[in-house]
Amino acid sequence: MQERVKAKAIELLESGVCDRVLGWKAGEFFYDVTPAVFTSREEIEKEFVFGPFCGANMSKYLIAESRKEGKKVGAFLKPCDTYSFQQLQKEHRIWRENVYAVGVQCEGMCDIEALKAAGIKGILGAEGSGDTLTVHTLYGDKSVERKAVLAERCACCKSKKLLGCDEIVGEQGEELESARFEQVAKLEAMTPDERFAFWRGELSRCIRCNACRNVCPACSCEKCVFDNPNSGIENKAASNSFEENLFHIIRAFHVAGRCTDCGECSRVCPQHIPLHLLNRKFIKDINELYGEYQAGADMDTRPPLMNFQMDDPEPSVVHERGSDQ
């Protein structure tokens, strides 16, 4: 797959469709693959990678890239990235006419922590497609089952469907039956005190590095409310010892109904806080209260939280339901 993607990137540049291509390149370590803009065949041949650690969602970078002058920007998007891509178009953030979108089928991205936890030592690299990964280590190559080392978000992948692309590399996929709400259901089953303790435990580790906010495709405000002294929110998030808790809860409210559940927030969190669970709780609630809704799945439906229908539940219903749990 890597070779096909690279070839497509070179083709886009050399055919003159694009003057730059958004893709992935290896970072300091083989597993911290970073997004990058490529402008020449040489760069692509040397640095472009596409493998089991290319988790970064490219759609958010298109907000800035699609507004630049010049030819189109080529972008490689995995299925879950295409949901964000469409959602951002619905919000008029990406200028679609300046983007050439190439959908890339994805076999699920891996988590380096899972590899380490599997007891593999001295890891130098990992590659491969299909069910088995080849891990290069100081002690020789080892093979490991992909399923065992998938990132949580990929283990419960919601869809392999590539949406709204100009062209597709690999097979078009389908929406999947996903068990992604199981963890949320577990949290809902807790008593309020248990749940409070759980989130205190998780959120108190936050160092307010803002990585979650910066990577989130739904967090695309010109000026974030947390950076705006007039918003009245800055000092709410800073009051008492609840600072971090409120930051994440306010953020989850802000992206509610627009979050596509791409899971980037949890991927980039240096403290491994399962932030995506907050968003998933909102998605689950929206599905249950207003009917199934997947943000970014199409270009024309109105999001339930921005719409009014006569059969919407009354606020009292929402309130009662909330107090049950």
Binding site: R67, E91, K223, N228, M306
Partner: protein, 663 residues
């Protein structure tokens, strides 16, 4: 820091009985920014108002808090009071310590405590108030009436008589609406056409009225005083300016088998047609679904016989765009489909008809020339059964409508009476749930049907109608007699419920006017503003707002016209300054506000901003039209960036109030 004066009203004993007003004014005197605090028996009295004005001058107050009744009552009073004393009227805040406090608390201690908290919140808000000035917008002095039935005609005539130009847009080839199909009108039994056609002619001759028949509203932009409307003039394949309405083409057209919608399909018309003799405008129209020339390119008979040369097979739909100051919705009603009521055998026997079909069967211009004959075999019916509330007052709303269609009791009495009058040899039964005949001379009319004309009124519903050997076997219950009835009827007439015309829903979306669950337009206030839509500049006339008979429709049409005239005489409209505005530096153009705006007040523009290093950044930003915005605040809540704010009710002000309450 503001200099705030607090004025606590006793409202006689309304407030003072359950709130210690002295304690409230003493406590609020200690709030930051308060330089004067007092209480008085009736703050809205002249003496109370004089005191407020005197204190504004004496202390140089910059903000005023009145703790009194609901702002719905006296906010305007106190704003005017303060304006006269030189204070901006929007520097006044009302703390509602009557409806929301003294009236709902029995215990004086809790009442007093709550009054202090409410006062504190108002003070916190005034601290952040800024003077607001109302803007102005011009008014286009022309009205649009959508729908050319009796409601639309009457509204247009009244507006035109006041000297303003009016356009009537009617989707059918002629104006006149449902009333043209009705035979006689209750309770006077005068002929519908005789009273309607003079009005149609009036409308056609009035210099201020422009009739756009066979046309539809395609798009509506703009706001009160400044609507811009796109109207589709459907191709009728006849040049309106040349056609003389002689009708020769409608006699010669070889395509004779087109169901005649004017007679509800009870007979046929030609592919080129004039709906009825008194049509306005009296111009032929070609039905493109049936015309052989338009479908196959072979025929052209009408073109050959037309001496005026009016036939134009090449005609295309035309889009015109016009400006209007006010729009009146008069889209009317239709009887509901009888598909779901097969127990009455409507689809099985042509002798089961709806009441509107019955009107045509009784009408001199109808398919039978006014003689009542059975559609199945053209014989004279001897036993007629009328069924009321078919689809009206249905529980659950699955099958029919939950509401009463209001007109059926009266027209059924009319039908029964006319049948007995013309054909004394008939037996007429009317089955009803209730007979509802409020209205001038209405109940007398119904009693005449029973007492003088011997119509059999039976309380109970018809359960089943079965066609058998040319008869209709009617099985019904007589609730008062406590028995099942079996009647061999010759005809069954169903009083079908009425529903708003299907065009109303898309029109409401275009107008951003609200509708109820039954697709009737909603009024701005069900009692006090019955002919205005909540959307400014949009007015309601006739049955599109709710079931109505003709006298009511005409009354409401006149009322809507007077509201339109009241708007059009103004050169400028004063806007409400408490409107939303977007901070362009923070707006990211996501459209969330536009999606939730019920008034269509928000649009987007691409605007250039200065970026770093002398660059220019083009960004999509929201713009609020202050003349359309009603200040509901939905956008301020939806905006993820906090770029939207409502003047006079800013997020900061509301948070300050909440903080003051939670202190």
């Amino acid at each position: 820091m503001q200099k705030i004066g607090v004025f606590v009203c006793w409202c006689g004993s309304n407030i003072a009985a359950t709130v210690d007003v002295q304690a409230v004014s003493d406590a609020l005197a200690k709030e930051p920014g308060v330089v004067f605090s007092t209480n008085y028996q009736y703050m809205c009295s002249q003496a109370g108002q004089d005191m407020i004005q005197e204190k504004i001058r004496e202390f140089g107050l910059t903000g005023v808090v009145v703790c009194s009744c609901s702002p719905r009552m006296h906010e305007t009073t106190f704003r005017k009071t303060c304006e006269k004393a030189g204070l901006n009227p929007y520097m006044v805040e009302i703390a509602n310590i009557r409806e929301q406090c003294s009236w709902i608390h029995k215990d004086k201690e809790t009442g007093t405590e709550k009054a202090i908290i409410l006062g504190r919140a108002a003070i916190a808000k005034v601290q952040l108030n800024a003077p607001l000035t109302a803007g102005q917008s011009p008014v286009v002095k022309r009205a649009l009436v959508i729908g050319g039935g009796i409601a639309g005609i009457q509204t247009a005539l009244d507006i035109a008589d006041a000297g303003f130009p009016v356009d009537i847009v009617e989707t059918k080839p002629t104006i006149g609406g449902k009333m043209t199909q009705i035979d006689k009108t209750f309770p006077t039994l005068d002929c519908a056409a005789c009273i309607l056609t003079p009005k149609m002619v009036d409308a056609a001759q009035n210099e201020n009225i422009n009739i756009l028949s066979y046309s539809e509203v395609e798009a509506v932009k703009g706001f009160v005083g400044n609507f811009s409307v796109t109207i589709r003039r459907k191709a009728r394949f006849v040049d309106e300016t040349k056609c003389t309405g002689c009708g020769l083409c409608t006699e010669k057209c070889p395509q004779k088998k087109v169901p005649n919608e004017f007679n509800l399909g009870l007979d046929n018309r030609r592919a080129i047609y004039i709906p009825f003799a008194q049509a306005v405008p009296k111009v032929a129209t070609i039905d493109p679904n049936y015309c052989t020339m338009l479908k196959t390119g072979k025929c052209g008979v009408c073109s050959k016989v037309c001496t005026a040369g009016a036939i134009d097979y090449q005609q295309k739909d035309e889009l015109i765009e016009r400006e209007y100051g006010a729009i009146v919705a008069a889209t009317g009603f239709n009887p509901i489909s009888m598909d779901k009521f097969d127990e009455f055998a409507y689809s099985q026997s042509p002798d089961v008809v709806t009441s509107l079909e019955f009107e045509r069967l009784m009408n001199a211009a109808g398919p039978t020339g006014g003689t009542l004959l059975r559609p199945s075999d053209g014989t004279h019916p001897h036993t007629l059964v009328f069924v009321q509330c078919v689809g009206s007052r249905c529980d659950g709303g699955e099958k029919g409508k939950p509401y009463c269609s209001k007109i059926c009791c009266m027209y059924t009495a009319k039908h029964a009476m006319l049948t007995r009058e013309k054909y004394p040899d008939t037996d007429v039964y009317v089955f009803y749930i209730d007979v509802r005949t409020p209205g001038k001379n209405f109940d007398e009319f119904y009693r005449r049907a029973v007492e003088e004309y011997g119509v059999h009124y039976i309380k109970g519903m018809v359960g089943k109608v079965v066609p058998e050997n040319g008869k209709l076997k009617v099985q019904a219950s007589d609730l008062l007699g406590g028995q099942q009835l079996h009647i061999d009827a010759d005809m069954v007439v169903l009083a079908a419920a009425i529903e708003p015309d299907k065009s109303a829903r898309p029109l409401a979306t275009m107008l951003t006017a609200s509708m109820d669950t039954n697709d009737f337009f909603t009024e701005a206030h069900p009692k006090l503003r019955p002919v205005e839509s909540p959307t400014a500049g949009v007015f309601l006339s006739g049955a599109c707002q709710g079931p109505k008979d003709i006298p009511e429709t005409v009354a409401q049409a006149g009322a809507a016209a007077s509201k339109v005239i009241g708007l059009l005489v103004k050169d400028h409209l004063t806007c409400n300054p408490c409107v939303a505005s977007s901070n362009e530096m923070m707006c990211n153009g996501c459209s969330a506000c536009e999606k939730v705006c019920p008034y269509g007040a928000i649009t987007y523009i691409d605007k250039d901003f200065r970026g770093p290093n002398r660059t220019t950044l083009r960004r999509r930003v929201a713009q609020v039209n202050p003349a359309v915005c009603q200040g509901c605040g939905a956008c301020t809540v939806a905006c993820p960036s906090g770029a939207m704010d409502l003047k006079g009710f800013s997020n900061a002000q509301i948070m300050a109030e909440v903080d003051a309450i939670c202190k």
